[in-house]
């Protein structure tokens, strides 16, 4: 493969969750990037790493900060990051700090969605038993959960999830349809289903896999009594404020966090939400895509070239890349065209060109980490350089190119610490503007990094899955030792050892994935009669050889059993050579049946999807990527028998 990539150019590598949802997910992704870098397939037309997203605006949701290790736009969780966002929100840092149990908790990554049920079931530090690692690194267990737009059945280890959901004090499910979260546990009290409208019933910016933003306009009014996410969050924040007031607690949510958001009645405006994003997201270049610029693109779609994505000369969008793919640097007034291809040194930085970020310091073990012999077209600095701060501008003699308002903003926000203000925290955008005027990348000009010395495997290596039929490979390629992360214990080798004992009873490798007809947890699409008709039964794909040796006919009911929690699922057999001998596949969009039980009666009347079925993740097992805690959905073991 490396030879093909080296000789057949341009070459691109496309992947989705098949590479990432593994105990070695981060390592896989890094190996792909290293392959592309080493074969010269980054930064040019037609090459690079292309990761496709599965739903509208997954990319945008990620950027805005649903990752529990960072504040919005990848600023991290340290004090600098908090202070930056406090400046953007216009909220005192002290008010933010007061929301946390201790100041240290501000910088501790949260609990990922892949492990919420473990966090419910484990004791907090308060009730921790001496010498027992089975505890949650916060004062108490997880007690309450609000779920916005998340299926539940897309998360592994569902028998454990059912127990966790049962134990929660409060559960709120906010979605267009009741999801698996709503029915999996037999909850009667303190469970609320909030009807949320779909993307077609609200407006706002949406980011696609290629980092382009599009303005989506409301197509129809929200049906029934549903509300959009903005209104639901605004009203929740208001209810919390009133509750805090009654208890004489100083914390305020609606009053503090919506200061610069226009609200009509109870409805925050989508435009002002994007403007707040523009004001704070310098790090990632979500700063130039104002609502006005995005709407101009939508109105002029016909003027963009379908291959280069560029607006044609002589049109209102001349020179822009369609949807101003991030990074779209600086303020909207700077008119950066967006970045269609990352790290492209053949373009001027003001024209969508770029360098590799100087993110990891300037030198390591006596070797420079800055670029050597590489700079973007038209750069005045023909060498590597670190990221830009006010101090760097001063050293280069460019400080006085900042305008008076830019300087005033820096002085207002940073005062005596002005030298430390950096391109990513300067709310005026001045540092970025001046650097770009000189053809320089404000984030520095560094080398791409193949050796990530701060990760568990600095250079990616093979590690056998937790549950593997190749137990002979465990000694040479063990998974990582048990450790902690994200407030939780993270077991590795101790669970992997089970492979040696369960292999005989669970001889088939099970993998899971998508169907074209359904999406995510599947409630919307399984409630759509046109789509539901196309896939009426949950199934397992099994190879003809494996089916024959088990006496299984195509289309009959079978039990799939898994090696944890006595898990079992009753599904239809699809005997096919799509899977090889010893391998089975299940799609993950089904829900509403659990271990042989039909849960249709648990949906509120009239809200049950047309098609229900067992969830693939009832069978999937333990296993998490060490860096992201992404779950292992692609490899486990199972057994299949006639039902």
């Amino acid at each position: 493969m490396a030879e093909t990539f080296a000789t057949q150019k341009p070459a691109t590598l496309i992947w989705c969750m098949g590479a990432t949802q593994h105990t070695v997910g981060t390592a896989n992704v890094r190996a792909f990037c290293i392959l592309l870098l080493a074969t010269g397939n980054v930064g040019g037309n037609g090459n690079g790493a292309n990761i496709f997203r599965g739903h509208c605006n997954v990319q945008g949701a990620t950027d805005v900060g649903l990752d529990v290790v960072t504040l919005p736009f990848y600023y991290g969780l340290d004090e600098n990051a908090w202070r930056h966002w406090c400046r953007v929100w216009d909220v005192p840092f002290e008010s933010m700090a007061a929301r946390f149990d201790t100041p240290q908790m501000m910088g501790v990554p949260g609990i990922p969605t892949t492990r919420y049920f473990d966090a419910v079931q484990m004791p907090g530090q308060g009730a921790k038993r001496e010498g027992d690692e089975n505890y949650l690194q916060q004062r108490d267990s997880l007690k309450a959960m609000v779920v916005f737009g998340h299926g539940g059945n897309t998360v592994t280890r569902m028998p454990e999830a059912a127990k966790g959901l049962e134990k929660l004090d409060l559960l709120v499910v906010a979605d267009p349809h009741p999801t698996t979260f709503a029915v999996l546990a037999n909850r009667r009290e303190n469970t609320y289903l909030l009807p949320i409208c779909t993307q077609f019933e609200t407006s706002g910016s949406r980011t696609a896999s290629n980092r382009s933003l599009q303005w989506g306009s409301k197509v129809v009014e929200p049906i029934f009594e549903s509300k959009d996410d903005y209104e639901a969050m605004y009203r929740l924040a208001g209810a919390l404020d009133r509750a805090a007031e009654r208890r004489a607690m100083p914390v305020r949510f609606q009053a503090e966090l919506f200061k610069h958001i226009e609200v009509q009645g109870q409805q925050p405006s989508a435009e002002s939400i994007l403007r707040e994003i523009n004001r704070g997201s310098w790090s990632t270049g979500y700063s130039g895509q104002s609502p006005e610029r995005l709407k101009l693109h939508m109105a002029n779609q016909q003027h963009f070239d379908l291959v280069s994505l560029r607006g044609k000369e002589g049109t209102p969008v001349a020179g822009d890349f369609y949807g101003l793919p991030w990074p779209c640097w600086g303020t909207p007034e700077m008119k950066h065209p967006g970045t269609h291809i990352l790290y492209n040194t053949n373009l001027h930085v003001k024209d969508g060109g770029g360098t590799f970020r100087a993110r990891f310091g300037v030198e390591r073990n006596g070797e420079t980490l800055l670029a050597e012999g590489s700079w973007p077209k038209g750069s005045e600095i023909e060498d590597g350089y670190p990221e830009f701060t006010v101090a760097v501008l001063k050293r280069l003699g460019w400080f006085d190119e900042l305008t008076a308002p830019e300087k005033a903003s820096l002085e207002h926000h940073f005062g005596a610490n002005i030298d430390r203000a950096s391109w990513s925290t300067d709310l005026s955008g001045g540092i970025i503007r001046v650097a770009m005027e000189h053809g320089c990348m404000h984030y520095g000009n560094g080398k791409a990094r193949a050796n990530a010395w701060n990760l568990p495997d600095p250079v990616p290596v093979h590690r056998e899955p937790i549950y593997t039929p190749r137990t002979d490979l465990i000694a040479q390629y063990p998974t990582l030792p048990d450790r902690r992360g994200f407030r939780l214990p993270h077991l590795g080798q101790s669970v992997q050892a089970r492979s040696n004992t369960v292999g005989r009873d669970f001889p088939i490798v099970l993998t899971t994935g998508r169907l074209v007809e359904y999406e995510g947890g599947g409630e919307e699409t399984r409630s759509n009669k046109w789509l539901a008709e196309l896939q009426q039964d949950m199934f397992v794909e099994i190879n003809p050889g494996d089916a024959q040796s088990r006496g299984i006919r195509d289309g009959q009911w079978v039990w799939v059993t898994g090696p944890e929690s006595n898990s079992r699922a009753r599904v239809k057999a699809l005997v096919t050579e799509r899977v090889g001998p010893g391998v089975a596949f299940m799609p993950f969009h089904f829900g509403g049946w659990f271990m042989g039980e039909d849960l249709r009666g648990r949906y509120p009347t009239g809200t049950d999807p047309i098609v229900l079925g067992e969830s693939a993740n009832t069978i999937t097992t333990y296993g998490y990527d060490p860096v992201t805690f992404m779950q292992e959905t692609k490899v486990t073991l199972c057994q299949i028998r006639s039902a």
């Binding site: 074209v516 007809e517 009669k529 046109w530 789509l531 008709e533 196309l534 096919t576 050579e577 799509r578 899977v579």
Partner: protein, 198 residues
Amino acid sequence: MARLKFLCDADRCIECNACVTACKNENEVPWGINRRRVVTINDGKPGERSISMACMHCTDAPCAAVCPVSCFYGTADGLVLHDKDLCIGCGYCFYACPFGAPQYPRVGNFGGRGKMDKCTYCAGGPQADNSAVEYAQYGANRLAEGKLPLCAEMCSTKALLAGDGEIIAAIYKERVQRRGYGSGAWGWRTAYKEGLAV
């Protein structure tokens, strides 16, 4: 006058069922009736191919030849349409059709057949164009609005082409020449008595 046809390029079809879903939605086709469907051959094996199939609107249509009540009629564009008010649900056309296009809703509990339903090329039926009665019985009449069938319009890969037979044949030939292979326009010899050699 154009001769309207369908062409499915099996080397492009990815079995996404967008055409099927578009058809169902546009024409409000009830559950269990499939005016269009996607058939996959050699599933899971090398050489797997998918073909999107509906009524091909045949030249000298066999369905029309066997219908005992002569409910079929041809249009000036070469489409084969039918009149449900005349249809007696006998099922002869299903046996005559080489593509399995005619569908019948089940009526009653004893497997009784209702009026035949099939692809209209989004051209409605014998009533006034785009009237409510036409929509209720036959679905959309996009053709009368100057539009092509929605299945082909929505095809994610443009495997499925609809339009003037000569134009879509030329598009297909150019594709095959460019990419250097083509398994032929599936069903054309049967439906239109002509192959599509490149």
